[in-house]
Symmetry: C2
DNA sequence: TCCGAATTATACTACCTGTATAAAAATATA
DNA sequence: TATATTTTTATACAGGTAGTATAATTCGGA
């Protein structure tokens, strides 16, 4: 991205943090970042679009850090989840994102409102999927409710805690306290077998990447299994067999159980499969490539880079 | 209140509900309510002050209805609490108070922000005191945390529920679901013996009527007991004894356990006590009157009419 | 009927967003 | 180096908003 544009984004973000979004006029931004009006409107069609640019720039970074915390860890380990939450809460506080959210909901800018709505829903979806990691498929029917309640519970705890003490180190205490409640909450709701929001709602609110789509999932597994059979049938060399099976399993693992599947790795793996000496499974490999391409396409459409 | 002014308040509230606070210009209000600019600024110093007037008008009514639900009921009955919540949530939805809250936090109007802050804290205090009614003194150390968490949990449940279905009848389901979680939450936190926010914080955030002040309470009970002893000692007629004891107990009950003590009733009771034929307890009665006067004074200062 | 208070209409200041445009500066190209 | 092209600036402008000020008008009560 244009360095000058990034500079404007940073300066404007500083002003928004200090004075708030509404209270910062475009003229303020022009003065503070040292550009002219013409340039501003060349970069951004409005103050709202500038704010969206700020969000996007930060979320991308945050999302990466959040996913990095999972690398090499067991996704069901709740300590990893706590770390991820802390990371996000500290970032939220530093960047005043919550305050800016609320401010924005008041504006009459439909685009901005929509963006915020989507962002919140994405956050909910992330939490829901992490809950599935942590609390298991058996609790799935209750986990959307739990995610909704936990978000509110945590947010209020943080808000009032900030009112009480303005120290940063306390955030981890608040997160841990809240998560302690969460664990029992999940148990309790599952025990009572009560549901307020069916999990399909999430898909309705946020037509997502096909990861949540059962049809897609079953098709993906079908092809993977077909190929696995191919391998055991056609490769008699034990070393080759193992190598290709491992590649296949890596692809499966990366796509199904990684927060942000690494496209380049998967493409590389597909390439290696294609370059096998026997030249079997032409059809299956094409299907696999297609379904994975579709997956990444949807991921990007629904990901952080919408329009 | 001036009928014309009330008319402006109603019309403006309609506009705020339809278009939002920020999006409604003063000119819109002038046109819609049919007054001139001069008159507007005679009534309200700004649009913000008009909004505060809207809040006050509605809260007074809501508070009355909410307290009426308790009349003749056991305060520890959770069904009453559920009814009270439903009442408030339906009102919030109808009047779009939550949306208006959020909008307001973005404005740079310090007065308005302060008012909203106080209003939210009052709501929290109300919930805290109701939790004490319901879950008992033994759980008190955990009930502020529970109130904070429950507010967030309920709010989020309602918000996402509105996103899912826009029907009004569902509100009671959401409330009941949330309260079911609450009951177990209180048990669980007490069991774990974890506390995030000490209850003194509430007093610090919202220096309240002395009802929460232990010193005042003990003094109040001391005087009441002194007078009770007087009665049993000096009145030998069984009918008189019972009558004065009942008056005393009414005062105690009304002040200590009623959400909005009825000043006129208490003053009337005090008057009756003063007019007793024996003319004993002059000193004690004076003390009681003083402490009750102080109580009502603080109640009004901290009550709903803060400017 | 008349006085004074309430109300209106209107003009005015100061600020805001967003558009348009000509001049100046930076950059690329020959 | 000289010329062409793009980027950036400075500035004026239109249309909107909040709030102040003031003269004219209306209305209710003595």
């Amino acid at each position: 991205m244009n360095e000058r544009k990034q500079h404007v984004i940073n300066k404007a973000h500083q002003l928004f943090i200090e004075k708030g979004f509404q209270a910062t006029s475009i003229q303020d931004i022009l003065d503070y970042s040292g550009i002219s009006k013409g340039t501003f409107y060349k970069y951004f069609s409005s103050k709202s679009e500038l704010l969206i640019a700020i969000y996007k720039a930060n979320f991308k970074k945050l999302q990466k850090e959040r996913n990095d915390l999972l690398i090499g860890k067991n996704p069901s380990d709740i300590e990893v989840f706590i770390k991820q939450l802390e990371l996000q809460m500290i970032s939220n506080k530093k960047n005043k994102f919550v305050a800016l959210y609320e401010e924005v909901m008041s504006t009459n800018d439909a685009d901005l409102k929509h963006y915020i709505r989507i962002t919140r829903l994405r956050s909910l979806r992330w939490m829901f999927s992490r809950f599935i990691d942590i609390f298991g498929e058996k609790n799935k029917p209750y986990l959307l409710d739990c995610a909704i309640m936990f978000q509110g519970l945590l947010q209020n705890n943080l808000q009032y805690n900030r009112l009480a003490t303005d120290s940063n180190e306390k955030i981890s205490n608040v997160v841990r306290f809240s998560v302690n409640r969460l664990v029992k909450l999940v148990e309790e709701v599952a025990e009572a077998d009560e549901q307020l929001h069916p999990q399909e709602l999430l898909e309705k609110w946020l037509p997502g990447p096909q990861k949540n789509n059962h049809e897609w999932i079953s098709q993906f597994y079908k092809i993977i299994n077909l190929m696995r059979n191919c391998i055991t049938k056609h490769f008699h060399d034990k070393y080759d067999q193992e190598k290709y099976i491992e590649l296949l399993e890596f692809i499966q693992e990366e796509i199904m159980h990684t927060r942000a599947p690494r496209k380049f790795l998967i493409e590389s793996a597909l390439q290696t499969l294609q370059n096998n000496p026997l030249d079997i499974w032409k059809k299956e490999l094409l299907q696999l490539t297609q379904i994975i391409t579709a997956f990444f396409q949807q991921l990007e459409e629904n990901g952080e880079d919408e329009h």
